[in-house]
Amino acid sequence: MTKNTENTNMLASASRRDFIIKGSLAGGGLMLGLGALPDLALAQSNSKYDQNTPMRAGDPEVNAWVSIKPDDTVVIRIARSEMGQGTRTGLAQMVAEELECNWKKVTTESPTPGQSLARKRAWGEHGTGGSRGIRISEDYVRRGAAAARIMLVQAAADTWNVPVNELKVDKGVITHVPTGRKTTYGKVAERASTLTPPDPKSITLKDPRTWKVAGQPYARIDTANKVNGTKVFGLDLQLPGMLCASVKSCPVFGGKLLSYDEAKVKNLRGVKGVVRINDSTVAVVADTWWRANTALNALPIVWDEGAGANTSSSDINKALRDGLDEQGDFWQRKEGDAVGAIASSNKKVEAIYFTPYRAHVNMEPMNATVKITGDRVEAWVPTQNGEGSHAALSEATGIPLDKCEVYKLDSGTGLGRRGSTQDFVSYAAKVAQKYPGVPVKVIWSREEDMTHDYYHPIAMAKMTAGLDAAGNLTGMHIKVAGQSINATLAPMAIKDGKDERQLQGFYEKGPDAQLGYQFPTLLTEYVMKNSHVPVGPWRGVNTNQNGIFMECFMDECAKAANKDPLQFRQVLMQNHPKHLGVLNAAAKTGNWGKPTAPGVHRGIAQFMGYASYSAAVAEVSVKGNIVTIERLVFALNCGHVVNPYLTREQIEGSVVMALGAIFNPEITVENGRIKQQNLDSYPLLKLSSTPRVEVVLVPTYDFWGGVGEPTICVVGPAVANAISAAIGRPVRNFPLYKENLSLA
């Protein structure tokens, strides 16, 4: 659970520490110094090899977002986390656009949560989830950049004692037009920093249609050290005197740690000790992580597995299935009398769908490094939410926030696991408390990471619709039963027993996840069925299953109505022009309605999440029980495209994650514990199964939508609908081995 740091007033003084990471290409090692200023060579190596260098105190800055060095290097501050989605590059492009600086001179650094706290959250929110990194911060980041430009130009005008309207600026070079005199941002930055900033509200931002830097398919600014092993992830940190730890929690969620036999492992090589982290988690600390983990696996532990040990997947699945038949006050949208309309219809269509638990499997396992010296805490964390990590540190140690600091490291993906759940930070803090003055790196084994996740929630849906004699839809009844993320993570968000979040994508109103259909009558219901298995956000969150439920069922309805799936949808989308726009764009590029190659069948789907509109057309062939995806076309309207190349990469990535989720084995529960422990029993999609992805970007420039997640929810239904077209029967049970299907 994270705390809101907004209302914290504990701050005594700025908690700024100089922090240097040096990636050494030749030696491959890592040196890290605290408290010293870097020399120039080191600073250069920072900018070359580590774009995530924490912001240094004392560097001159024009404003919170921009610092410019005398050599014209532009340092852009990025508060959001980078985990591969390209947010750092996109935000830097938007700043560079308004700043009118030289892109070749741009580098980035990260304000720490401690620095942000000290400056009254000058950088706003740090959290990076829900595809919000760019869309939520674009306005204040661009205004900050524009304000910096205005101050820099004013500083040049003041220096030359000329009217500011006689100056122009291009790529960081300011020219006095009447005389041709020139100066650069680097030369006037110090003077600019002394000026009173303009009111951000008074600034007119550029029309995105005129962008020259933003909106371009620029290369990522942080790729070079990802291809030679020098990028430092949390797992790679090496600090002087550092110890390592591996953790183990009760295999059954909710169970307790009764006892362990420390004597059995304390003499193993390198072992420093065993730490009881809380009433269900234990850690072994050693000089290296492999020794810690080896000793942990040898540690005799007695657990009280608790009531959860009596629960297996069959029980959870049955509870969901029963939930679909329960009658009660479950409704969230009620427009007309859908139940009555369906009952009196010429034809009734009904289908029950199932989607399973999913694990995140971040390739970089959960980890954090914490050092507690006296009354100060420092942590090095791959996190999606620096402020959340900051709060977790304070909560776990009891040390006030202003004495805590978090150095964010780029994450080996996040996928929702490193944001609202900060258990990996709390655990590391608890271990470090036992070793004052010593940095302790706590890494979860892959097995621990997989079996103590916050899983994508399991869900079932009963979808019911009516058709009149002409095949027109008369009513839609969507009834979802499943586990609630809010029940695990944010119970206060559940109002009167109703949890809107689980019906993401079925909302009446935007901007985030609006249903794209206007049904003559509609009833949506959510029946909460929780188990002892913790659930949380997983890329795309509840749009994953809801997209499947809605869009697979729309195809079933179209078939029952004897209508074309695209036309059947279009009729119901006339009040939702943006949804319809992407659907039509995907259909056009996907050659919908045109002949396919022999044996190839098409499927189509559209859905909305994260304020963006997505649609897909899939072409598949099915031989025996083997599915080959022949073509995948996506259309995305995310309002503004800040970097089209990286946007396409996000869509390509969402396809891989979604295809794995609909074809690969799922997470199951056996005697209360997660049965799948590693990638041998929970395999992820590989290159050989990955189809080429074609992308059509259709921004309408009148809103800001997300990119990282939106398209994931249309992959499954588009492919499933194509499969259904191929095999002549609907597919409803995911993953699709339950339908006797596997991916080539």
């Binding site: 291809v227 092993g229 992830f233 080996g412 396409r648």
Partner: protein, 165 residues
């Protein structure tokens, strides 16, 4: 015990059953080689033993003997290996965590089959990437092998070397 890594001999005193991965990472201190699963499924720990790609998480250090180990840090001195160049030009990596292994596997493939077909790539590139960079991995291998031009691949993504900033 001696380990020859990237041409350098390291005298190390470790348990014989310590996996090569952890000797490389925690004893020798080369952290480019990653831990992803520990059971030879993901390939993030790929290194070369006498030039052949292996999954170092599942090889005890006692089995290495005098074989020469090469890690990603020694693939080139300056990101000049054709695979590295293609990876950078196409922005193959997203988060980058698995890419040490992807790069090593791809370079090994090109050494064995200089002009690999798509089927060769399917068979050789079994490394797991959670970001889902596989399409770009395939593109990158085609560019690194000279079978596709960088500009042609970029054009498929409505980009060119001129518009990449």
């Amino acid at each position: 015990m001696q380990l020859t890594i990237n041409g350098e001999v390291h005298n190390i005193d470790v348990e014989p059953n310590m996996p090569l991965l952890w000797a490389i990472r925690e004893v020798v201190g080369l952290t480019g080689t990653k831990y992803g699963c520990g059971v030879a499924q993901c390939g993030a720990c790929t290194v070369y033993m006498n030039g052949e790609p292996v999954r170092s998480c599942s090889i005890p250090v006692s089995a290495v003997g005098g074989m020469k180990i090469t890690t990603v840090e020694a693939l080139s001195k300056d990101n000049s290996h054709p695979v590295q160049k293609a990876w950078i030009a196409l922005d193959v990596p997203q988060c980058g965590y698995c890419q040490s292994g992807q790069v090593m596997a791809a370079a090994a493939l090109l050494k064995r089959i200089p002009k690999p077909s798509d089927a060769d790539i399917d068979n050789a590139m079994t490394n797991v990437c959670r970001c889902g960079t596989y399409q770009k991995v395939r593109d990158g291998i085609h560019v690194a092998s000279g079978q596709k031009k960088l500009e042609d691949v970029l054009a498929q993504y409505d980009a060119s070397t001129k518009t990449r900033g």
